[in-house]
Symmetry: C2
Subunit: 343 residues, 2 copies
């Protein structure tokens, strides 16, 4: 039967599922927060739908459900390092965030490197968490090889998400978070299930020819957004958030996992920048000036990114998060069966 | 009569033009280096063609030809600041570079902020100069309002270039440098001169309707690359390399200049990251691992960015830089007439 839950009630229910499935407190708490946040924001692709993927990765032995992330005490300069120790990225991020924020406020900018993590979440929760400290953020990570570089014919790059945030006073930050492929892999899967052809320009088949057939696309390669420019940004992400931080690149992730049905194992790079530090001694308040830019964008009828998500959040926070009967049944089933619910 | 010159001979000829036109040694030397480099690399849009624009901006009193850039002695933490004092960005960059490189090697990453500069150059010379120190670089700056945000109808964002570099041993770095608009403004101008329609998706007319007419496009707005994703990156650049560093955004630049025929006045943000520092303690050499990625890209027939430019460079360095008779005559004319050559 359908239910409407508060954020905290939904979060606890998710946390209990993960605890029952054998995850430790720090992993379960952190994951329940990001998954409940996805559901709250109407971001179904990163909501409770993800629980099963987490359990599948756990059952396959590709993630440490009891890992305790470790802050590198040797972290110095502007680099803060957290080793996820084979667990999920999210608790590692939460451990590193306060140190990152302090370092960025002291030095003007700083980087948080997360190594040896399994990653399945959107990047916007992290961007927003950095922005809550009054800092701008750039976040990026590899994925698994599913995207052909521009001019190429075979999967090599990941869908490599890139996210950015800018803090706004008394309201949600300016946030974008997108795949550097034309479409997310899930969107191709949705077309396949619906028996609908893909828009042109999304993918190529296994022989490197353009295709609008979702099956052929899944067996072939996706295309980067914006042609050679998006391909270059995807490559930059492999270099900075894979190679540079000493963690796996997208082709290495696919070799390691052997499948795209499990959450990928790699690293993540978070850059935090202090507008107050950067703007010090210059005319004008950076936060007030940013508002002028946002107003000018909206004045011409263009939308700021994430506004639909923020509207869903406001609604959820006042009216609760509505789950369908099928969703409630699935949560009950996952709670009862735990890892046995996974085929 | 056509001539073939060495890089240094061409550079000196350009330097002399700028000195004769009243620029001081530091401005003239720095500008001559980037302009000769553009010509050497077959990058005609940033080669000697730019000399006239420099002189025009000088004649209009919109740049200080005798400015001495100033390194902020209060620069601390991971932020290095150079005030261009109304001169060109290039000598300011050259002044800040060694400090930026030292700081990035010490802290792992650092930022160079250039304020109050006039900017006309490509970003790749700077990306390459940072890479020469064994550092990765991200460089960005606003421009003037000529690009409509996705979903908008009027110019607001600039063509906001974004460039990235990764150092490679014993060879040119991995480098990309592109406008965050679909096309550079100069390309629309070239279509106009050739009387050729624009490809679809490049621009809209003054009433916000899609157009393929170059005249209508120049009176209207250009479009960001990659739809809402490119628009978001363009906005990020306004925030980080405009608002955050306390310098003008693209709409403010256009207000200040009142024209797009002069080089824009704003700031610039350069981030430098040390792969050695980031990868420390992790398995694998980041430079060797990057080569594996580059090889995999090229193995499938895709090209790395900037390769055409590097090939032109190699040719120019062995065979010299070939100028047409018209180009030689124009250099002679600019040398003789100086600012009087400008209408």
């Amino acid at each position: 039967m359908e239910q409407t839950l508060t954020f905290e009630a939904l979060r606890q229910r998710i946390e209990t599922i993960f605890r029952q499935a054998g995850m430790n407190a720090v992993q379960a708490a952190s994951l329940s927060r990001v998954i409940a946040a996805g559901e709250r924001d109407g971001c179904k692709s990163h909501g409770i739908y993800r629980i099963e993927g987490v359990l599948r990765t756990l059952k396959a032995g590709k993630v440490e459900g009891t890992a305790k992330p470790e802050l590198d005490s040797g972290s110095d300069g502007a680099i803060v390092r957290v080793n996820a120790r084979g667990g999920f990225s999210n608790p590692a991020f939460e451990l590193g965030l306060p140190v990152l924020a302090d370092r960025a406020k002291e030095l003007g900018l700083a980087a948080l490197v997360i190594n040896d993590c399994t990653h399945f979440a959107a990047l916007w929760p992290e961007v927003e968490a950095v922005a809550d400290h009054g800092l701008a953020a750039m976040v990026m990570c590899p994925s698994y090889a599913t995207v052909a570089p521009a001019g190429g014919t075979r999967p090599l790059l990941g869908t490599n998400p890139f996210a950015f945030g800018w803090p706004r006073q008394e309201r949600e930050p300016y946030v974008f978070d997108f795949a550097t492929s034309v479409a997310a892999r899930g969107e191709i899967e949705l077309h396949r299930r619906a028996g609908k052809p893909l828009p042109e320009g999304w993918a190529m088949d296994a022989s490197g020819r353009p295709t609008t057939d979702p099956e052929a696309a899944l067996a072939g390669a996706m295309l980067p957004f914006g042609g050679h420019k998006g391909s270059a940004i995807g490559t930059m992400i492999e270099l900075l958030a894979g190679v540079m931080i000493g963690d796996l690149t997208s082709p290495e992730v696919l070799d390691f996992l052997g499948t795209t049905t499990l959450a990928p194992f790699h690293g993540e790079l978070i850059l935090a920048l202090s507008p107050e530090k950067f703007a010090a001694g210059r005319e004008g308040d950076p936060f007030a000036r940013a508002e002028m830019l946002f107003a000018a964008i909206q004045d011409q009828g263009a939308r700021l990114p994430s506004q639909r998500r923020f509207a869903a959040r406001q609604k959820a926070l006042t009216e609760g998060i509505a789950l369908t009967g099928a969703e409630v049944a699935q949560l009950d089933r996952l709670l009862e069966l735990g890892l046995d619910a996974i085929a």
